[in-house]
Amino acid sequence: MEKFTVLTATAAPLNMANVDTDKIIPAKFLKTIKRTGLGKDLFSALRYNEDGSEKPDFVLNQPKYRGAKILIAGENFGCGSSREHAPWALLDFGITCVIAPSFADIFHGNCFKNGILPIALPPEICAELMADAALGPNARLTIDLENQVVVRPDGSKIPFEVDAFRKHCLLNGLDDIGLTLAHAPAITAYEARQPAWQPAITGV
């Protein structure tokens, strides 16, 4: 996983609430057996016409947002399925930070596993950032994870909360599995205590 430290980039405004994972990446694109290559299908139904041509009005099709690395969205972003293809598609497009008033739980957790920082901020602050984002590359935002601040184009700083453990993993690009395997003796000890009635799956 790539480290996330400081990001200065254009932010794209997507002023929609309840952006579900089917909207982020429709099911027909989940047939891949790879993590990469989904960026072209990100927001597919919003981004393309049926004939495959781009919808020029959609925010990520506008020239000023094609290089956006930050997305500002409405409440309950990422609701719906557990598909990690949603953060994979965002990442493959180049987006590594999503700011919204709230996130669905599974999507929120999946972001951290892929070097994407989801930031929840109050709706009125998201509205201000949405206004900044409307200015395009003239108003880039800086996300400083170490200091937990979003720096607006005018230099003002907005603090944000992030889980300490997840922050540590993002800052250092750490793989969870490696961390957990340090607890292997405790896992083995736990397994030895499991009740005898708990059936094993054998002979399927």
């Binding site: 579900d20 089917d22 027909k28 047939k31 139904a45 399925s81 990690e84 669905a104 009635w197 059936p199």
Partner: protein, 467 residues
């Protein structure tokens, strides 16, 4: 000792280790694996030279991509075939138990877990699918995970998690005739919204819940994710124990007695704390149907489509208007009488034998309306066999329904069963998102009986009018 909830007890029993900041290493008892969210996880294991820690706690099945017609010749669509073939190769390479597509036990992963006795009370159960919450009906902590977590569980049999908050949804009273578990959960989502349970695990309680059979409880818990909750669960009781007894992978004999003795300790203690409590009166529930592109956009079948002009908030008003435009509906329009093109009876929400019986009871002696395509897709090969044993297949076929093989089918656009743009579908599935059942498709979520009623009349209708 402090009074604890059902969730607290299951959580506490599975904490392997604690990190300084409250993150826990949580042990996972059952890991259900399917073809869509696992290829990258197995690839990750391969790249790191890791093995599956507990193949005897893991089971795999293909469900999302499988066609629901004759599949003795395999899967025609190359990408779907590759994904299922990849699963077959991975389970062989890593020694994971697997139920093949042609096996009578094959079916939707959330149907076969309880059916096989693999999902038991007090367990932690995960799967790379958000509807894993279904298994909470057994009195288990069951939740969906992403692919990185699938890999994590395969490698370590644990997850790194912080405990969720406790939420109680109590449904009191008796459910009126014509109403089902599906109407209960749709009414709950309508009340608390699609983010109402975010950060929480919902425990469903109250006599309207305990009166439900296991199939109904699974329907309720299944859609917990549509209320934003990480999981939903119901305290195990005699209904649960008698459902489990004798199932293939359930404990037997003395082991079963020991298990039941433990399961009886799981229900929430008197005075335990819930962070959030919601109460509904079952007597107020009428058959529900969704009108929009979010499960919270739901109304009684006796109701009308809301008017966006009445919404003061700009963003919400725009969202409402977008829903109506997508759904091809006008403000104030009555839901009853809305003509449908397709009826889908199936999915992990409503494809158990009890669901098929409810639909067949409405379909019996009637015929699917002209210009309506109606599909019945059993949740597993065993549900299909049971239905055929009971003659339900004949009822459906005589009435002009399609009778298909088990799979996720038209719940999501990953296999040949899809809506085409503009088609309106009465569906027993769980999500009505834009394009969920196929690009441009319009989904109305409802119960199996309501779906069958729509099939035979050609329009959304209050099932109580047919009773």
């Amino acid at each position: 000792m402090t009074a604890r909830t059902l969730f607290d007890k299951i959580w506490d029993a599975h904490v392997v280790d604690r990190m300084g900041d409250g993150t826990c290493v949580l042990y996972i008892d059952r890991h259900l694996v399917h073809e869509v969210t696992s290829p990258q996880a197995f690839e990750g294991l391969r790249l790191a030279g890791r093995r599956v820690r507990r193949t005897d706690a893991t089971i795999a099945v293909a469900d999302h991509n499988v066609p629901t017609e004759d599949r003795s010749h395999g899967i025609a669509e190359p990408e779907s075939r590759l994904q299922v073939d990849t699963l077959v190769r991975n389970v062989a390479d890593f020694g994971v138990p697997y139920i093949p597509v042609t096996d009578a036990r094959q079916g939707i992963v959330h149907i076969i877990g309880p059916e096989q006795g693999l999902s038991l009370p007090g367990m932690t159960i995960v799967c790379g699918d958000s509807h894993t919450s279904t298994h909470g009906a057994m009195g288990a902590l069951a939740f969906g995970i992403g692919t990185s977590e699938v890999e994590h569980v395969l490698a370590t049999q644990t997850l790194l998690q912080k405990p969720a908050k406790n939420m109680l949804v109590r449904v009191d009273g008796a459910l009126p005739p014509g109403c089902t578990a599906k109407d209960i959960i749709l009414a709950i989502i309508g009340k608390i919204g699609t983010a109402g349970g975010t950060g929480h695990v919902i425990e469903y309680a109250g006599n309207a819940i305990t009166a439900l059979d296991m199939a109904g409880r699974m329907t309720v818990c299944n859609m917990s994710i549509e209320a934003g909750a990480r999981a939903g669960l119901i305290a195990p009781d005699e209904t649960t124990f008698s459902y489990i007894a004798g199932r293939p992978y359930a404990p037997k004999g003395e082991a079963f007695d020991q298990a039941v003795a433990y399961w009886r300790t799981l229900p929430t203690d008197e005075g335990a704390h819930y962070d959030k409590i919601v109460v509904l009166d079952a007597g107020d529930i009428v058959p529900q149907v969704t009108w929009g592109t979010s499960p919270e956009a739901v109304a009684p079948i006796t109701g009308t489509v809301p008017d966006p002009a009445a919404e003061p908030d700009d963003t919400r008003r725009a969202q409402l208007q977008r829903m109506l435009d997508y759904m091809g509906l006008a403000a104030g329009q009555k839901l009853a009488g809305l003509a449908v093109d397709v009826v889908f009876i199936g999915s992990c929400t409503n494809a158990r034998i009890e669901d098929l019986r409810a639909a067949a009871a409405i379909a019996a002696g009637k015929h699917v309306a002209q210009n309506v395509r109606a599909l019945v897709v059993p949740g597993s090969g065993l549900v299909k066999a049971q239905a055929e044993h009971e003659g339900l297949d004949k009822i459906f076929l005589d009435a002009g329904f399609e009778w298909r093989e088990a799979g996720c089918s038209m719940c999501l656009g990953m296999n040949p069963d899809k809506l085409t743009a503009g088609q309106r579908c009465a569906s027993t599935s769980n999500r009505n998102f834009e394009g969920r059942q196929g690009p441009g498709g319009r989904t109305h979520l409802l119960s199996p009986a309501m779906a069958a009623a729509a099939a035979v009349t050609g329009a959304l209708i209050d099932v109580r009018e047919l009773a």
